[in-house]
């Protein structure tokens, strides 16, 4: 177990390093000079520009900039946002809970819809109910989030006036309001997750239901509900749990567009604004934080996989 963890960490560190180099390098390809953007009104003043460049180390060789940045990151310091004038670490920590709440809600919606639908469509394989569920799932996968989001706003906010069209209220300030502001984006993101989970659950359940141990369970006299819901599902969930963890990671990192549509001030909005403003420290920080979350989640996924799979746990 410890050895395994060490080996995993051994894979993680080079991955993160390479990623950081890529982020640093690719920024150089972005058009637009950050110093020009930051100078604003005074962009004509060569002295101001030079001063900004010196302050931000933009006049130094790229390698030096990178090493300087890396050194500070290793000490837990992600630097200062050039634009918002706030430490990047703090910025990330204020935005993360928002995105986390959204991701968690989307994930719950995805699991609650996706897993039972997958089970049912496996049990009713090749019957109309199965086709219907698969049809809806295909729809869920192929429907663009921005379109669904806009449609929902039109229906629930503009037409019916039930929900606020955009904005965000933190959970700890007003839980009910908070749910009202996040339920639509969570649903938009959740449908995608539900579709993916449904398809994987269905495949895993079909595999499990054809196994000999399912026949044994029936021969024992168990009801069909127990046969499906206990004996088959317990095994089918093993791969689905892993996939679910990755899906959760994708929610944390990939809600950019949806956050924009619903004006949710989360991670997605932070990084988009930062890119447009050439706020490199923020971009770098967000990318690295996202990568770190991903890496951690996939580690959790593997550990969960071991925990629920007796073959690995006791091997």
């Amino acid at each position: 177990m410890w050895l395994w963890l060490l080996r995993r960490l051994g894979q993680v560190i080079p991955t993160l390093l390479i990623l950081s180099v890529l982020v640093f390098g690719l920024q150089q390809l972005m058009p637009g000079d950050p110093a020009l953007i930051l100078a604003g009104e005074e962009r004509g003043d060569a002295q101001v520009l030079a001063q900004i460049r010196a302050e931000l180390m933009l006049d130094r060789p790229l390698a030096e900039q990178y090493l300087h940045w890396l050194w500070r990151v290793l000490h837990g310091d992600f630097g200062f946002s050039w634009r918002i004038r706030m430490p990047v670490g703090e910025l990330i920590l204020t935005k993360l809970p928002v995105t986390f709440q959204l991701a968690a809600m989307s994930f719950i919606i995805g699991v609650v819809i996706g897993v039972p639908c997958g089970v049912l469509s496996a049990v009713w394989r090749d019957r109309p109910a199965d086709w219907a569920i698969n049809g809806v799932a295909l729809f869920g996968i192929s429907m663009p989030n921005f379109w669904l989001g806009i449609m929902m706003i039109l229906l629930f906010s503009v037409q019916l006036g039930w929900l606020p069209p955009s904005g965000y209220v933190p959970l700890w300030e007003d839980p009910l309001m908070s749910l009202e502001t996040t339920i639509m984006p969570a649903f938009v993101l959740g449908t995608g997750v539900a579709s993916v989970l449904m398809r994987h659950t269905r495949a895993a359940m079909l595999g499990a239901l054809s196994q000999d141990y399912v026949r044994t369970a029936r021969a024992k006299g168990l009801s069909e509900t127990l046969v499906v819901g206990k004996h088959a599902l317990r095994n089918a969930l093993i791969p689905v749990v892993t996939l679910g963890t990755i899906e959760f990671g994708r929610l944390l990192a990939g809600a950019v567009l949806t956050e924009q549509i619903f004006s949710i001030p989360g991670f997605g909005k932070l990084v988009v604004d930062a890119v447009f403003n050439r706020d490199y420290p923020v971009v770098q920080g967000v990318v690295m934080a996202t990568a770190l979350i991903f890496v951690t989640l996939s580690l959790i996924a593997d550990m969960l996989y071991m925990a629920i799979n007796p073959r690995l746990r006791t091997a």
């Binding site: 141990y213 026949r215 044994t216 007796p310």
Partner: protein, 321 residues
Amino acid sequence: MNALDVEGLCIDFHTERGTLRAVDRLSFSVAPGRTLAIVGESGCGKSATALAILGLLAENAETSGRISLAGQALTPQAQRAARGRELAMIFQEPMTSLNPAFTAGEQVAEALRLHEGLNPRDAMQRAIAMLERVRIPEAARRAKQYPHQLSGGMRQRVMIAIALACKPKLLIADEPTTALDVTVQAQILALLDELKRETGTAVVLITHDLGVVRDHADEVVVMYAGRVAERAPTAQLFNQPEHPYTIGLLGAAPRLDSRRARLASIEGTVPDLRNPPPGCRFAPRCPFALAACEALPALAELAPGHWVACHRAPLDAVIAA
């Protein structure tokens, strides 16, 4: 009263390439405490028969005929109620028949909780007692282990414990030792005999190994391509086989008594059940076939309890001539 009566059982499978009759007018009975063996090559309908008795055939199967358990007709509802109680089965594949996600003890206890309404603790106690009874050493420790931590023989013992946990009237063992090595095979079969003596359970032992039949069965049904070829008390069958197929099988049975294990085989293969030969299904492989064999041979009683479906039976006269 018999523990099991099967009368005129027919099983059809509807497939994309047409319907095949896997079992055709099969009849047999087993008394409590007795073992009936069903023997035949792979594909002759043994497992289909077993699953039909339990009511666990695939959805594309259609059955007809009568199956009664202790005199009671086994309707689908009755099968459902009887499974795991009066009616139990162990399968050929001990490696895959247990659920990999639950411990051995949990899988035995589950049946006890369901059928005897025991609480989880009592059920586990009884499960451990059952595991001891099927001679699993350190049963309490083994009960906490998962199937992958157990050997094939051990897993089959767990399967037997599950099957016998609720004292069934009938136990169907579908090739219970085929996947195991020879010494384990003998142990498992001896265990089944012993448990049968203690509980009075009737056993249907399905096998393709006549050596197993000789030592463990009271009566034998030899099946060929879904039909009964011959049915007789075990001693009678071995002393005086009458059906050419049985004689062929006896030639193919490994003979440990002659030191060199001999394995002769019957030439040819089992017919395609979608398109079987008319009349006697064994005719294409039968060294004794005549023109008359294009008509279906009826099952006739040559001696008390000895039934044969062959136009040329008794064969003694044929061989002597």
